[in-house]
Amino acid sequence: MKTLKTAASALALSLMASVATAEGKLSIYHWFEYIPQELLDKFAAEYDVEVTLDTYDSNEALLAALKAGKLGQYDVAVPGDYMVEILGNEGMLDTFTDDEMPNKGNILPQWADVSFDPGRKSSIPYQWGSTSFSVNRDVYSGNIQTTDIIFNPPEELKGKINVLDTAGETLTFASLHLGIPQCSTDREQLKALNDLVQNAKANWASFGSDVAKDVLVSGDAAAGMIWNGFGMKAREEGANIEYAYPDQGYIVWMDNVVLLKDAPNRDNALKFMNFLLEPENAAAVTNYARYTAGVAGVEPFLDEALKTAPELNPPAGGNPQFVQACPEEVQKVYDTIWTNLKK
């Protein structure tokens, strides 16, 4: 009996101890390779907070983890635009007031009120960019401003193409190629989409998202779908590649830091989000990840190379499109198309 009491009081003590230290903690759920360690260290030192970071590799993986019981373990996450809307509809986001986010005014006007989070009640901009493809200019010197490069490639590129291993982005890109609306319910259009990717697959070498940069740098792929900043990194690592803005269109996206529901350290989460809205800190992320911040006043802190990089300066006009979250009946067809493609 005595030992039981001792054990119980020890347990109580340790519980109290963990509550006491938990005040100085922050738990982040983030994409891979997307925030510099120095910035996390800076936040930890400035606010005396112990920061932990776990990573995921797609918006869907984030949703799956939160659904499988991770909600309540993390304070903030960084979903893309359409996923902010989904998380919001699933009731997984907390809201904050303007008073709780003093730097909210730093958000650039075009990102201050967005359709996926009207009035920015749960999210702040992290970085935005585009999804298109890069082509190795040593291998192919012709016109690359067309989605034919991926879906109807010239002889030089056949069998040397990597596509992103996520149904959402690759099928959206295929829809742009066909000129059909996203989430189309038209049967003929969906059949055409199915046929297109089925036929194009013969020319593809691999499916890969986290390796999208590596295959271009190593030469395993001569053309590959890629996010613009990742493509810039690949170019800076020595690949002679050019990022394309195809006439048919390309995907734009914005990643956002969201305040998760039941965040164990809500105060620190707000401090962290406010910290990321400081121009200097937003610029540090941009310098690292090679995308574009959604915060005003970052220019003085940016690397010189970013100002002229073709990956970050899309030509005027063009046809940038956000990925839409499709309704269930369309998503079901997309799943079938994707499984057919990889069977």
């Binding site: 799956a64 969906l190 390796v211 395993d220 998503q331 079938t336 057919n340």
Partner: protein, 305 residues
Amino acid sequence: MAGLGPTGGRAARTYAGRGPLLILPAWVIIGIFLVLPILIMATYSFLTKEFRGGVIWEPTLAAYDQFFFDRGLFGDEQPKIEWTYILIFWRSIWQAGLATLLCLLIGFPTAWFIATRPAHSRTVWLFLITVPYWVNLLIRTISMKFLIRDNGPMNQWLLNAGLIDEPIHIINTNLAVQLGLFYSYLPFMVLPIYAAVERYNFALSEAAADLYASRWVTLTQVIIPVVKPGIIAGCILVFVPSLGAFLAPDLLGGAKNFMIGSLIEEQFKGAAGNWPFGAAAAMILLSMVLIVLIVYARNQDRESA
């Protein structure tokens, strides 16, 4: 397979009647880490899919229906037999089977070689076999990718040596997957066979030779029957993890085709978010492996009886 329990008189007396108590920790561990997860998985496979992951607590056979019946792109055609998932399973079984065969062909002579060395150098050989496996599987698989790519060291060396005129294209093919599986699981074949060969009484080979058995007959009629438990253990240890492997198919095969492992992963992590279907596919895989193991155990019992 089941142990006969303590046979020594004193031990039997000491532990008399406490058997159930002593086995309790094992049962708790098996219960919590094996039986419970399988029960959860089985339950989920019979629940209704919730859009974007998760389940609704209404029982249905929809997941199994999806596995076995093809209702067309829009899900409203007359059901036909669904070949997609059978094809994916067959591909995995074929790859795993081939990897097992390759491991056996290389692993058996290797194990034999090590077991026939003097005792002190055996330790060194075994040590050498295990050294590469101190490194994480992911890192070894990526290293393999670096080695075999079109402009990687292997092709460079062959080109420089004048043995080939253009690079051998291995990366992103089934051959690369095979190579990855074979390399990943080779020690699981070598070590059990080594353990069996080490106990082999070489006087049996001599006796066979005295009775005019050829080398081939000695191998097939004497050696293999004796070390068979080691061979079968090795085959199971290679085949089962190869069946669910997804690192090699993803990294070396270019993720072009689903294997069982990546198909299941996609149901939980991918856009499909179809947990009941992922659970059902896992249950079907589990049942298949169980059936094979039960048939094997039956045969063993019959042979030893």
